[in-house]
Symmetry: C2
Subunit: 302 residues, 2 copies
DNA sequence: ATTTGCTTTTCGTATGCTCAAAATGCACAT
DNA sequence: ATGTGCATTTTGAGCATACGAAAAGCAAAT
């Protein structure tokens, strides 16, 4: 009933590694978010560079995508691969399997957020609970730690971060984000990254156009990319990192709430995001900051 | 020549664990910073609670301190232990051995900061280099990761955080700290923690009085406790955590610079810190912020 | 009521080995 | 120049067990 159950799927091969899956998803998202049309060449070395991995997992990932018809061999005399289909309206989840490790990660997150799992846990207690090996437990806990969601206790055990569910945590989080994001906008080295900005806009537009009915997870990603993108353009990596960590925390929080945001609320947020982007692009930072501040205050209510 | 060489010291027993050492140092610092006089009772459960560990390592640590004459049995009919000597002018380093793991941690930090170690490393490459087992490597890297100083790469290997040595990094760091620390001062739930404030003051006074000629490491601790303490009083844990992480980064940076801050500069900083604390205590937040801002700007120059 | 001192239980580290996968190098193609 | 396709090297994950240290429990003491 543990991890093993979710492995061996309907795939021809079930020895796909998490990294390969990650790359596969990355490629699909890249094609979609950058709007690459069918026929666009896919260079293995280029992709490897983008993802910061060697060519090996990229090659495998592209092979898997070929099996699924997402990419195909280049025509006639050429070698190599190209985009095969228009991904605009496709769902990543339908193409790439989710890594069992990812599933577990979310499951633990949910269990923790719902109070099902205590704040202090020992590795040994997780092994039977999720029916996984010690190695997997370590890996998962390290991942939580990397996101700032857990940390080792001095002696034995791990402690999950105080979650945002308490009134205090949520309020603190929004206060912190307002501080950091507004400061990021005002950073003397703030520079618009046109490509990134367009990519973020595209994602939002797709939702507003109705082309995408975002699941909770998808909306989360879009939302995060807006806030993180903005922080990144500050040119100060500490602003970016701080917001990234806040997003990780929020993800944990949202893992708990089963009811999702209303479609209306999501559309509203999209509009607000786009308004901020417009103001930023127009160079009107005062207005952008006001809008952002307002947006974050609003969001705090939900 | 590796870790093993630095273990088996002149101690009667050399199977002291890192946790026991940590607790030992913690107790010494606690006695000193809180100003506990000889005769003060040391309760094992109380200390265990403070450090977030069980009574076992505390008991061992106190035993070691007894051997060293820092603590002693309570008089006559009582059981238990008490403070035995006045620690005011004592150096922690003279009392507690430094954990070999700690030494290695610093050594790696120094090697990295000085560019001796590349930004991207593999576990396998560190094993022969420092003559340690894979387990130790993992442990060390995990510790770096926990402090935000390194992270796993997607495929193989680890990557150290961009260090602060570049002009950019340093500037970004100060910009970020000014933003966060000033916001912390302005937080609506800022509350003075008198005990903590006094403790911080005491440390600074000891330096100004000339009672303590701080080593680089000691000054670092005092400095960090000022900034972190202030951020902690904001009542918003995100401000505190952000500053804590900044301090970790700075520690890595300072590990590189062989020349230390001049005694004059340290005294100057102490004065500035105390001035901020005075303003805070007087409730004059405008002034406190101005002083803090000025202090951070100055510090950026060094 | 809390602490000590001891005992019992639980936890995590260490070790050594195997093997799959990621990284890397090179010849050839475009 | 850069990319592909294949071969080789390197890396780290997985696993099973033994052991020492940390945690947790309890009776006696103050």
């Amino acid at each position: 009933m543990g991890i093993m159950a979710s492995v061996g799927q309907d795939d021809s091969r079930d020895d796909i590694t998490p990294l390969q899956i990650e790359v596969m998803r990355g490629v699909v998202e890249l094609i979609r978010d950058e709007g690459w049309a069918p026929g666009t060449r896919l260079s293995v070395p280029d992709l490897a560079r983008r993802f910061g991995v060697s060519r090996s997992p990229v090659t495998v990932a592209l092979g898997l995508l070929t099996e699924r018809g997402i990419v195909a061999a280049m025509p006639a005399p050429h070698r190599g691969l190209q985009v095969a289909v228009d991904l605009r309206d496709m769902d990543v989840a339908d193409i790439a399997p989710s890594s069992p490790l990812d599933d577990l990660y979310r499951r633990i997150m949910r269990d923790r957020a719902s109070g099902d799992l205590p704040q202090d846990v020992s590795e040994a207690e997780l092994i039977p609970r999720y029916d996984i090996s010690r190695g997997v437990v370590r890996k998962l806990l390290m991942r939580f730690a990397a996101e700032g969601l857990a940390q080792r206790q001095p002696g034995h055990g791990w402690r999950f971060a105080d979650s945002l569910d308490s009134m205090d945590g949520l309020r603190d989080s929004y206060e912190f984000r307002i501080t950091v994001e507004c400061a990021a906008l005002r950073s003397p080295r703030f520079r618009i990254n046109t490509g990134q900005l367009d990519s973020i806009r595209r994602m939002h537009r797709r939702i507003l156009d109705g082309a995408l009915q975002p699941t909770g997870e998808e909306w989360f990603r879009v939302n995060a990319s807006f806030h993180e993108g903005l922080a990144a353009m500050s040119g100060n990596r500490f602003y970016r990192d701080a917001i990234h960590q806040q997003n990780a925390l929020r993800r944990m929080q949202e893992a708990a709430s089963f009811e999702e945001l209303s479609a209306d609320r999501i559309r509203e947020s999209c509009e607000e995001h786009l308004a901020v982007l417009d103001a930023v692009e127009a160079g009107n930072m005062d207005w952008a900051e006001a809008l952002l501040r307002q947006h974050l205050k609003q969001a705090a209510e939900y």
